[in-house]
């Protein structure tokens, strides 16, 4: 029953009912733009961090004073990327933020969040969650929709990690905090914001690693192809029975 319920949620393209789109065009385009910008932001972020790989808590911190964490990285000032790394970081921050805003508005108004990311009431059970955490192979029907662990992870990335990394980024700006001082003070200060920015990056990197590992485990082509073309497979499949139910 539950399977039938979420199968109905999958939009069927008029043109090709036997090969329904798995992901809408907006989801696919914003996914890849975000993927590229996260990659560039990570590289340029590392370039920025290497100028001073030390983290502090509070408003201030410097090499001559106490730190929260001394990262096991060298202080690198003279790398070619050092300056341009900052230009690159802010350029792609705009790409990422504008794409995220567009995706957020789309998700809200198209009910993408509610339909595809909000866990169904029935799925929020420890039995199901632990079953997915043990990476039990999904049935073909189950694979057509996100499971509860996927939904919770994606919601966490979209509504916790990305807002947090944008917030902590803005909290490091003396011009922005001149207008919204609480952006920094709520976090404990400008250096706290920098430290949280770093750990949020770590969380996003961990998510990406697990996400990519899961894609490989589930089948790289069968999961990546729909995120590029929207279609489940390159060739239309032989009509599976559940599509007839849909009646297109």
């Amino acid at each position: 029953m539950a399977e039938a319920a979420h199968l109905r949620e999958i939009p069927i393209a008029e043109a090709d009912a036997s090969n329904p789109p798995r992901h809408s065009a907006v989801v696919r385009i914003t996914h890849w733009i975000t993927a590229v910008s996260v990659f560039v932001l990570l590289l340029s972020g590392i370039a920025i961090l290497l100028a001073h790989p030390r983290l502090y808590w509070g408003e201030t911190g410097a090499r001559e004073g106490p730190s929260l964490i001394d990262l096991p990285l060298p202080f690198v000032l003279d790398v070619p990327i050092r300056g341009p790394g900052r230009y690159l970081h802010f350029t792609f921050a705009w790409v990422c933020v504008l794409t995220g805003l567009f995706y957020g508005l789309f998700g809200l108004f198209s009910r993408h969040f509610r339909k595809h990311l909000l866990p169904t009431r029935n799925s929020l059970s420890w039995r199901l969650i632990s079953r997915h955490l043990r990476l039990t192979r999904p049935t073909e029907e189950e694979a057509l929709s996100y499971n509860v662990v996927q939904r919770l992870s994606y919601l966490g990335v979209v509504f916790v990690l990305f807002p947090l990394i944008i917030w902590t980024g803005l909290a490091m700006s003396p011009a922005v905090t001149s207008v919204f001082p609480w952006l920094a003070t709520v976090l404990g200060g400008q250096q706290s914001a920098r430290t949280i920015h770093f750990f949020t990056t770590i969380a996003i990197v961990l998510f990406v690693l697990v996400h990519v590992a899961m894609v490989f485990r589930a089948g790289f082509a069968s999961r990546t192809w729909p995120m590029i073309t929207g279609r489940l497979s390159a060739r239309p499949r032989s009509k599976p029975s559940h599509n007839e139910e849909e009646g297109s």
Binding site: I48, L49, A51, H52, R54, E59, T60, G61, A62, R63, E64, G65, L77, R82, G83, P84, G85, R86, Y87, L88, F90, T91, F92, A93, W94, V95, M172, S173, P174, A175, V176, T177, S178, V179, P181, A184, T185, Q190, Q191, R194
Partner: protein
């Protein structure tokens, strides 16, 4: 049906494209009209820089003040970044206790003038306890004392067509501010720090303090200020030595 749909799609797409194009045109016009375009707006990073600068100028248009702190929050350790200038001109002034130091202000002003430290101290004295962050990542809080740049500029009569205020120093750095930041109440010609005369390491005798931008905009060892309506013919035309080295001209971040 399909023909209708195609036509409707075509019209919608066309209208959206036209709206987008004219929207960009209007945005470009408004950005130019309201001085929302930074000098380093060209090249691949120019779009992001322009978005940042324009967004900040709109956001801070109510003359927002940088966060100020309590005296107890002043940093115990104040990092020193870079050496003081080695040029003879500076060394001679240093040897004389800066008695002969003069800050020249010229360009688009009614009365080009030079100010000694004592002259600057005759302007109303202001102080601020603000945060200064280096683009590298470290930061400190200090108390800065000085004259407001706006008071000094008003005394020499800035002409209405002025758009930029350039700063030159005894070391290799040079930079510029737009009028909103030059006239901002927390932009100081600072001659004191933490209750003392400006220390040698921090820009003696007078440094710039720009509270709403990163530390590299607060130039040390000032020698000359020039008011202009253009960035052309000054250095590489990017308003500062920073963009050439890969750092944005606008550092409100």
């Amino acid at each position: 049906m399909s023909v209708l749909l195609t036509r409707r799609k075509l019209i919608t797409t066309g209208l959206a494209a036209a709206a987008g194009a004219s929207g960009l045109g209007v945005a470009a016009y408004l950005a130019k009209r309201y001085n929302l375009i930074p000098p380093d707006h060209g090249g691949i990073y120019g779009v992001g820089e322009t978005l940042t600068y324009a967004a900040h100028r709109v956001l801070t248009s109510g003359h927002s003040l940088a966060r100020e702190f309590d005296r107890s929050q002043i940093s115990k350790v104040i990092p020193v970044n870079g050496k003081h200038p080695e040029v003879d001109a500076y060394q001679r002034l240093l040897a004389g206790g800066f008695a002969d130091w003069k800050l020249t202000i010229d360009g688009l002003v009614d009365r080009p003038s030079s100010f000694s430290v004592a002259d600057l101290k005759r302007f109303p004295s202001h102080s601020q306890i603000t945060h200064q962050a280096c683009e590298e990542g470290w930061s400190f809080i200090a108390e800065w004392r000085g004259a407001r740049l706006s008071d000094v500029l008003h005394s020499v009569g800035v002409q209405p067509q002025a758009k930029w205020v350039f700063f030159f120093t005894f070391d290799k750095w040079w930079d510029s501010l737009d009028i909103p930041d030059a006239l901002h109440p927390q932009t100081f010609l600072a001659y004191g720090m933490n209750g003392q005369e400006m220390p040698l390491d921090h820009g003696a005798p007078v440094r710039l303090k720009v509270a709403r931008q990163l530390g590299y905009k607060s130039l040390k060892y000032l020698s000359r200020i020039t008011v202009t309506d253009t960035m052309k013919n000054i250095g590489d035309g990017l308003g500062s030595g920073s963009p050439g080295a890969g750092y944005s001209w606008y550092a409100g971040i």
